[in-house]
């Protein structure tokens, strides 16, 4: 069984951690970003298309609910 190549953050100095952070930021600078307004509209559309079929949003009729109450007897009305 293989052990992790040793990097335990407790052993790293502040300087090491900051260097790691800067290296990471350098990579991220080149990322292409979409407009927030467009992304949010897509999230909203995605949800609206599907929320009608979402069991926890629309509720489940008691008789179809797999988690309906475990009852011993039955109700006679």
């Amino acid at each position: 069984m293989q052990k992790m190549p040793v990097i335990n953050i407790e052993d790293l100095t502040e300087k090491d951690k900051l260097k790691m952070e800067v290296d990471q930021l350098k990579k991220e600078v080149t990322l292409e970003r979409m407009l927030v307004s467009k992304c949010c509209e897509e999230v909203r559309d995605y949800v609206e298309e599907r929320s009608g079929e979402d069991p926890l949003v629309k509720g489940i009729p008691e008789d179809k609910n797999p988690f309906k109450e475990l009852k011993g007897g039955c109700v006679i009305s």
Binding site: I9, E21, C40, R44, S51, L56, N65
Partner: protein, 342 residues
């Protein structure tokens, strides 16, 4: 950003520019005209009792009825949530089993914690077989295991640890396939992207950062640092284009991966305790979050409002997952119980 090029620029121009800048900064503004949800009544449908101490983690089986849970006392239990029967139980050699996961096949579970390892146990219905005897140690970290998850198959496991790293392991050989370095402190949680969107996962840690990783290269592709405290839980949005996080700063936030920023925050002045665990409903309309004040808050993801607050647990809610078909969700707590809500 607008620029004032001369002192003649009118007040009106500046205000319009500011308005445009403010218009689409978050999801709630875009969703203003979406119909509000009605009042919810969600109840506890099952209470799973049997753990002798704090429940720390749980996971659903793909069959939508079995649940695995792990506890501070070292016990890992597999339940049938329909009947509340315990189907399997194993005692780990360590306390604080902080992570557990169900294999996609339903034939095995993985767990670990203060032992710094992630172990896999095949599930067998043979009464003569001792589950503990078949245990396979897969992952080995230099500090506690905080989270684990099988990938798309039973063959690989992704782990997160207090040693600041995440790692991908081959279950059969125990070989380390890839390691992920970048967090500046303990990693507390992880979640795999929905399989359609490819080979990435997100992790959250005590360095207040959420990081998205490419599983093949081991590189961090995006990082987000807007939380003000430890991130306890991360969960991908159903489409895979966003993820939610829950933090000790008492807020939950939504980050859009394509916009590369936070697009929504779920908070209230009255909520001052940390959020320990978050998950989405099937469509992504609802965000369920368990808190250290013993409650579960249900948020309207689009509008940012809280639609319901669920009481029932008698101590911190430590873990929460929606079932695979979205018909219910399960919460685990330091009150030793798990509850299934629908």
């Amino acid at each position: 950003m607008f620029q004032t090029t001369s002192s003649e620029t009118s007040f009106q121009e500046i205000s319009t520019a500011q308005l445009l800048f403010n218009v689409c900064r978050n999801l709630h503004q875009v969703a203003e005209r979406v119909e509000a949800l009605g009042q919810f009544v969600m109840k506890t449908r099952r209470t799973l009792k049997g753990h002798g101490n704090k429940v720390l983690c749980m996971d659903w089986c793909k069959d939508k009825r079995r649940i695995v849970s792990s506890s501070q006392d070292g016990k890992v239990i597999v339940w049938d949530s329909f009947t509340t029967n315990k189907e399997h139980a194993v005692t780990m050699p360590c306390t604080w089993v902080m992570a557990c996961a169900y294999a996609p096949s339903g034939c095995a579970i993985a767990c670990g914690g203060l032992d710094n390892k992630c172990s896999v146990y095949p599930l067998t219905f043979d009464k003569n077989e001792n589950m503990a005897a078949k245990k396979k140690s897969v992952a080995m970290h230099t500090n506690y295991l905080s989270a684990c998850s099988f990938t798309n198959s039973d063959m690989q496991i992704l782990t997160a640890s207090g040693d600041g790293t995440c790692a991908l392991w081959d279950v059969e050989s125990g070989q380390l396939l890839q390691s992920f370095h970048g967090h500046g402190a303990d990693v507390l949680c992880l979640d795999l992207a929905p399989s359609e969107t490819g080979n990435t996962f997100v992790s959250g840690g005590c360095d207040k950062k959420a990081m998205v990783w490419d599983m093949r290269s081991g590189q961090c592709v995006q990082a987000f640092e807007t939380h003000e405290s430890d991130i306890n839980s991360v969960r991908y949005y159903p489409s895979g284009d966003a993820f939610a996080s829950g933090s000790d700063d008492a807020t939950c936030r939504l980050y859009d991966l394509r916009a590369d920023r936070e697009v929504a925050i779920y908070s209230k002045e009255s909520i001052i305790f940390g959020a320990s665990s978050v998950d989405f409903s099937l469509s992504g309309r609802l965000l369920f979050a368990g808190y250290n004040d013993y409650t579960i808050n249900v948020w309207d993801v689009l509008k940012g409002s809280r639609v319901s607050i669920l009481f029932g647990h008698e101590n911190r809610v430590s873990t929460l997952r929606v079932s695979p078909d979205g018909t219910a969700f399960c919460s685990g707590s330091w009150d030793h119980t798990l509850r299934v809500w629908a």
